[in-house]
Chain length 309, copies 2
């Protein structure tokens, strides 16, 4: 956690307060839902060309674009891309023409030049990819949520201990949003005292469900709403309240309005108690109305939720 935080902050803090978050025009281009929202920032390289070579493997979630934007803006050299679906690779190469399509994941893992592999696999497969990446002696940067089971977390910890590699997570709602980065900076400066409670809101818009892949609606694969979206909120709480550990004291989830997708949880909330005494509540849902082009936890506070049936 600490290493990841330091790495992320060193990557981001030169942009404060000018901002690394999505530009307004980028937001307008959002393709109906937040799945393809990929913030672009001003390039501010912290390494020279060719000095930090990366590859993208597994393009199942559109977050891979934001991840590669951030990394290349920081100076990373994007050498490879691989996904078993040639259509996804083709689309990716339009955004990142500098990358070469690899013939297999193995080809990338065997390239000694590659220092980091970033991926946005189906959530339940993210850990397995990370284990392979670390076994190949490379660091791993995955879309959130990074795990769907406790067994996966333990496997990743064990692998980190054995290989010394990093398993890092793209918690975009904090590390790729201007206001969230700025809030962390204010806290660090002591400008607002010691936070004792964070209430996090993660309203999301489902948009057209048919535009989303099947795995998005299968709980075993996406991990449930508290894992899928709530992991953002929990990470923010831990960071802002400087908590190293916390216990989930209570949680509840529901499917209020999506009977066609019985495994989709469209509402969830939880209360946490941190080891250091901080507390958190968060609420996440899929009830952002159509037409409101926002996503994430900081923009939609007093939304009144509408039942769709």
């Amino acid at each position: 956690m600490t290493m990841k935080e330091k790495w992320m902050l060193s990557w981001l803090d030169s942009d404060i307060p000018q901002g690394v978050g999505g530009r307004r025009e980028e937001r307008r281009k959002m393709n109906g839902n937040g799945m393809n929202y990929a913030p672009k920032g001003k390039p501010q390289p912290v390494v020279g060309s060719g000095e930090f070579v990366i590859a993208a493997v597994a393009l199942d979630h559109g977050h891979i674009y934001g991840m590669c934007n951030g990394l290349t803006e920081a100076g990373a050299t994007l050498k490879w891309v691989y996904d078993p679906d040639p259509e996804k690779v083709k689309a990716f190469l339009r955004a990142f023409p500098q990358a070469q399509p690899a013939e297999s994941e193995e080809q990338i893992l065997q390239d000694p030049e590659v220092k980091l592999v970033c991926g946005a696999a189906v959530t339940s497969l993210r850990c397995a990819l990370g284990l392979r990446v670390m076994d190949a002696g490379k660091d791993y940067f995955t879309d959130k949520a990074p795990f769907t089971t406790l067994e996966q977390i333990e496997a990743a910890r064990e692998k980190i201990r054995k290989t010394g590699r990093k398993y890092m997570v793209y918690y975009s709602e904090r590390i790729h949003v201007e206001a969230a980065v700025y809030a962390g900076w204010l806290i660090e400066q002591g400008a607002i005292g010691t936070p004792i409670h964070v209430d996090g809101f993660g309203p999301h818009r489902i948009g057209n469900p048919h535009s989303r892949p099947d795995w998005f609606f299968e709980k075993e694969k996406y991990g449930g709403i508290l894992c899928d979206i709530g992991s953002h909120q929990i990470e923010q709480f831990l960071f802002y309240c400087n908590e190293k550990d916390a216990k989930i004291q209570y949680s509840q989830v529901g499917n209020y309005a999506h009977p066609d997708y019985p495994e989709l949880e469209d509402f969830g909330e939880a209360v946490l108690l941190g080891a250091n005494g901080g507390t958190q509540h968060f609420r996440v849902d899929w009830f952002t109305p159509d037409g409101l082009s926002t996503w994430g936890g900081r923009k939609n506070l007093y939304s009144w939720h509408r039942r769709l049936y």
Copy 2:
């Protein structure tokens, strides 16, 4: 509950949306904390002079002023006031010179003209006063929280069954605040769909603790923060989500920053599940910074809480 709601709404709804809440100048006059905040509205009598005679008994909390403002603006005739403390009576008579100081509570209870007694006693004594009022054949209008124990609730229910009188509560944060009344009106009109979750925030400012009476800091008397402040939030949830019953699924309280007042809970939160499927989280606290002249749950959403030590 239903009778109370109807009565309150008939009292208030002619004022929508012009507003019954506190005027800005009134807010500026707030005496350091919310305890003495007494909203004034435009008089809109619904009864003729002398038709609905009331009395004020027990002036322990400043809310009694807002209660009497609302009642007299609606046409009630304020005939009597009684409190064992002559200073409190003197101050009250300055605001309501039309009232006569009674020699005892008994004198008021025996007056057949009096139809309703309103009171803002020490919280733990509110029920006992209500039982005496109803025994005297009058309706009761108490400051919130209306009870501090489950036994008191049962006693009041039993008395209501026996006497047919009303035990009504001044939930000022909803019934005496423009935005809150308007929100209820919007929901009633179907303007925002069916609410499935209410998140309520009740940040409060402690101000100068020495300006508050001792009972304010004794848990047996004020009932704890979830009772004292949280009763507002729960009432709002029940009303806005049209829930007749709900279960408290989880709650936690703490004293983070007031070691001199060990029985003061300066932080609390709870999660509720309604019988009809609605859900609520609320957070209440005494961390509104000095100098911010707001109170209540709707104005202070992303406050960052400051530890005072």
